[in-house]
């Protein structure tokens, strides 16, 4: 995907420090990670982000993101 800006930002993604392009939205990030929006829930700084807001919500430096989905369980 085309970089919108040269800068990169640090975030905590699923417990790991990661550097990602600056200025991404949640939608951009999921696309960047090749994840289907329908199958993933995004928690940003302990707040769940509604799917219909993925295009608006930015991923800022220092954000803590959890990307979760369903797995087999009893």
């Amino acid at each position: 995907m085309p970089m919108r800006t040269p800068k990169a930002v640090k975030i905590t993604l699923n417990g790991e420090e990661r550097e990602i392009p600056a200025g991404l939205t949640i939608r951009d990030l999921l696309a960047h990670l090749d994840l289907h929006e329908r199958l993933v829930v995004v928690e940003r700084n302990k707040e769940i982000v509604r799917r219909n807001r993925y295009a608006e919500v930015p991923v800022d430096a220092g954000d803590t993101l959890e990307l979760v989905h369903f797995v087999g369980g009893g």
């Binding site: 993604l13 990670l33 829930v41 959890e66 979760v68 989905h69 369903f70 797995v71 087999g72 009893g74």
Partner: protein
């Protein structure tokens, strides 16, 4: 067989949870299967209409892999997220909310675990989390122990189902305390679904004969040598136990009674 099929289709015989009706009284977990094909085969053979799933992080290194949702037809099975692995009310509430966001449903199988070795519920944390989640509009199916007092509190809070254990999760020890389960059923009006501990078909059958509304199981099927066949066994065992409970068993007697007539014997 139509006779009977008709009967068990009677509305009053359907399992009703949170206003939704089900033909099957068996709820299956989706964990521990050696592969997804076996899991789907087992779900199908069991006749279940509700399956539980866990909420976990996406594995970013293998993000291309199919998630479990690819395998679970949501038209066929109601996905019931659980809070397995949560040791505090706070964690359980967090997972419940994530589960709701992921599953487009407000049903939650609530677990608040009190001990890693036994996975027994922490009833205090459970009650606290249940109170919050019910207030947020969740349909709470609460995994609890055999304690009637806790069950009464959960019902008062407004849970949609009380789910006492038969024995510890994954133990396969079967129904250790039929008396307590019968006791809970006799005092609780929301559905009582026995969750965890069933190890084999007769465990499921005798559990249903206590009069409970349903059973949730996972390991007994997933870890059987032939999971699909065991699922078929569990379907029949659960129906058998339910029908037997409804049919009303014969009395036990310590003396014998002949099945053939005494009169008409030859000289």
């Amino acid at each position: 067989m139509t006779v009977v099929t008709d009967r068990i289709d009677l509305p009053d015989e359907r399992l009703e949870i949170a206003g939704r009706g089900f033909q099957s009284r068996l709820i299956l977990g989706t964990g521990k299967y050696k592969d997804n094909e076996t899991m789907v085969g087992a779900l199908a053979a069991s006749g279940t209409e509700i399956v539980t799933v866990a909420v976990r992080r996406v594995d970013l290194d293998r993000s291309k892999e199919e998630g479990i949702l690819y395998h679970l037809d949501q038209e066929r099975w109601l996905l019931l997220p659980n809070t397995a692995g949560c040791y505090t009310a706070e964690d359980a509430i967090r997972y419940a909310r994530l589960g709701r966001a992921a599953g487009f449903t407000d049903w939650i199988k609530l677990e608040v675990i009190g001990d890693q070795a036994t996975l027994l519920p922490d009833t205090q944390g459970l009650i606290e989390a249940a109170r919050t989640l019910v207030a947020e509009g969740f349909k709470v199916l609460a995994y609890t122990n055999e304690d009637l007092i806790t069950a009464l509190k959960l019902e008062e809070i407004g849970v949609s189902a009380v789910m006492p254990l038969a024995s510890p999760i994954g133990s396969g020890l079967g129904l250790l305390n039929p008396f307590s389960i019968r006791l809970i059923k006799s005092r609780i009006s929301v559905p009582v679904i026995v969750d965890a501990g069933v190890g084999t078909a007769s465990d499921a059958c005798v559990t249903m004969e206590q009069g409970v509304d349903g059973i949730l199981m996972n390991t007994a099927i997933a870890e059987a040598k032939d999971p699909v066949r065991m699922a078929a066994a569990m379907k029949r065992a659960t129906e058998a136990g339910r029908l037997s409970y409804l049919a009303g068993r014969m009395p036990r007697r310590e003396q014998a009674v002949p099945s053939s007539p005494l009169r008409g014997m030859l000289d």
